[in-house]
Symmetry: C2
Subunit: 326 residues, 2 copies
């Protein structure tokens, strides 16, 4: 598979992105196209380019984190995000990975690749793995802050297809995130969505609560992008606080991860660590697009490329076009 990687996107670009791409080229059967500033990338990747059959697509412009997505896309047609998405559109690569401005990636994907027919709102699907034995897919992780029941209904379908194809789960258990397990609980959006998903033929297990995330009771967690984003970031923040823990008086860095590993609890934070999963998949556009965490370093990028490779292998975006025939 050919994977384009945004070498200019993310806090640790381009160094860590290139390192991650090199790791991925060793680990997976992929041909990588680094999208970014040509001279810099030649310098960083050096001999590895030829050795690992990596290519460079020159993108002299860069969209920063603070920029307004739509304006930035208009003003910077030669940015790594625009060029990377266009490589997908033109069929020159099978997937695109970016740790850059999420809003800009979403907009570029939406406007350049377009939505899969029948999909109202593409959603970001992210793995939440606070239960190691049974990681769950959460969507929407932040693409749509305001949703309607028809959107949540489609998220359930998109998540079902993802879980079958990427996670290899035969009959994914679909849960609807709510503030109570009874079907009468929830805000109006959730109450209406509950009834629609219930009658969908999916393996719907009903409402799930925040404390169910750790219990491994569901394979897919359906929620709006506002709530989903907050939950994902809450888990991430807690994971970070364990990994980078300092003593209460801030006098010393306790190296939480090492300490936890010492006592056999390392697996706990591993599940809460976004680096393990690399990125969220944008479901519902005509192409495979992976959005990585802005703070991604080599390991997260390598894993994101692995996910992109898997999505491309199973032709995920084509599978997702079955969303309306379920």
């Amino acid at each position: 598979m050919k994977i384009a990687v945004d070498a200019s996107g993310g806090e640790y670009a381009p160094h860590e992105i290139v390192k991650g791409a090199i790791k991925a080229a060793h680990e997976y059967d992929v041909e990588i196209v680094l999208v970014g500033k040509k001279a810099m990338l030649h310098l960083l990747a050096g001999k590895q380019l030829k050795k690992l059959k990596m290519k460079i697509a020159n993108a002299p412009q860069n969209i920063e984190f603070g920029e307004h997505p739509m304006e930035a896309l208009r003003q910077k047609p030669r940015s790594s995000i625009v060029i990377g998405i266009n490589l997908v559109k033109e069929g020159k690569v099978d997937a695109f990975v970016s740790a850059g401005n999420t809003g800009a990636v979403l907009c570029a994907a939406l406007f350049s690749l377009g939505k899969i027919e029948g999909v109202e709102r593409p959603a970001l699907a992210s793995i939440v793995s606070v239960n190691r034995a049974s990681p769950a897919l959460l969507l929407d992780a932040g693409a749509n802050a305001d949703c309607r029941p028809s959107h949540l209904f489609q998220f359930a379908r998109l998540g079902d297809i993802y879980a079958k194809n990427i996670l290899g789960i035969e009959s994914p258990r679909i849960g609807l995130l709510s503030n109570g397990s009874e079907e009468t609980k929830g805000n109006r959006l959730v109450q209406e969505s509950h009834q629609r998903i219930k009658n969908s033929g999916l393996n719907f297990i009903g409402n799930v609560e925040g404390n169910d995330l750790t219990k491994g009771v569901t394979d897919v967690i359906v929620t709006d992008g506002f709530t989903g984003n907050i939950v994902i970031k809450t888990v991430e923040g807690l994971g970070d606080s364990f990994i980078k823990v300092r003593s209460p008086d801030h006098s010393r860095n306790l190296r939480g991860r090492a300490l936890l590993s010492d006592v056999g609890l390392g697996f706990l934070v591993k599940g809460m660590d976004y680096r393990e999963y690399g990125g969220a998949c944008l479901l519902g556009v005509n192409g495979n697009v992976i959005v990585s965490h802005g703070r991604s370093q080599a390991k997260a990028i390598k894993n994101a490329i692995g996910l992109a490779n898997r999505a491309a292998e199973v032709e995920l975006h084509r599978q997702l076009s079955e969303v309306n025939n379920g």
Copy 2:
């Protein structure tokens, strides 16, 4: 202060409730009224009743967790919840603590005590202490699943008064929970609420994200009851998964808390443990009402009584009536 305690409410009632009440009577300067089945309470509390000046208010009926709040209140006028709330209404006690059916406690408080003049929607305020050095108050933690901007605006004011009076913070930092820090981020509710809180004269620090919870950047986290409940339960679930951790193959119980304490990380889970804080305060009704976790055992109940005592001492519900004069 006189505190009524629902001895029939919660998964571990009445044994653990009575144990917690006895602990509280030792630790705080409180007179406790146990509300529940008289004969059973005499049996459980025994000689402690006289020794600790504890009283019993007989409530032969009990509202279970699964019951519909309004129907249950109508059908069971002699339930511990109805009788406990009435003790507050009649001025016979200064506060009521219950680990029973939350919906029923909220309804009883709302209809029997009534709302503070000018308050549109009372809210549950719960301590989130994933950052031990700087615990934050989150509201609404679950009383109102659907909110309007005027509600979130009032939650900010109520939280400000609580933080000043109960947490002793002079100028509480108020944050609005959102899916991005910029003021243009959020769903429609948050975007509109942001503008109202911004112009309120409160010490508003703007939007906070899920991963800010651990950073101690805010004293009050304002959110709707749907999102708030999910966040609180997510943190609780993760805390539980650390405390009651099992090895990945389920072969042994690792006693997470003890192991973490061994390596000096005990403070991390302590902050995520609802038992430490005992309960959420219902803000905006004419009386002091504390809702404890349904799984509360003695320690949580003791702490909830401590919180009730503090709320009564500072006459919290009277302070809250200043909400419209801020």
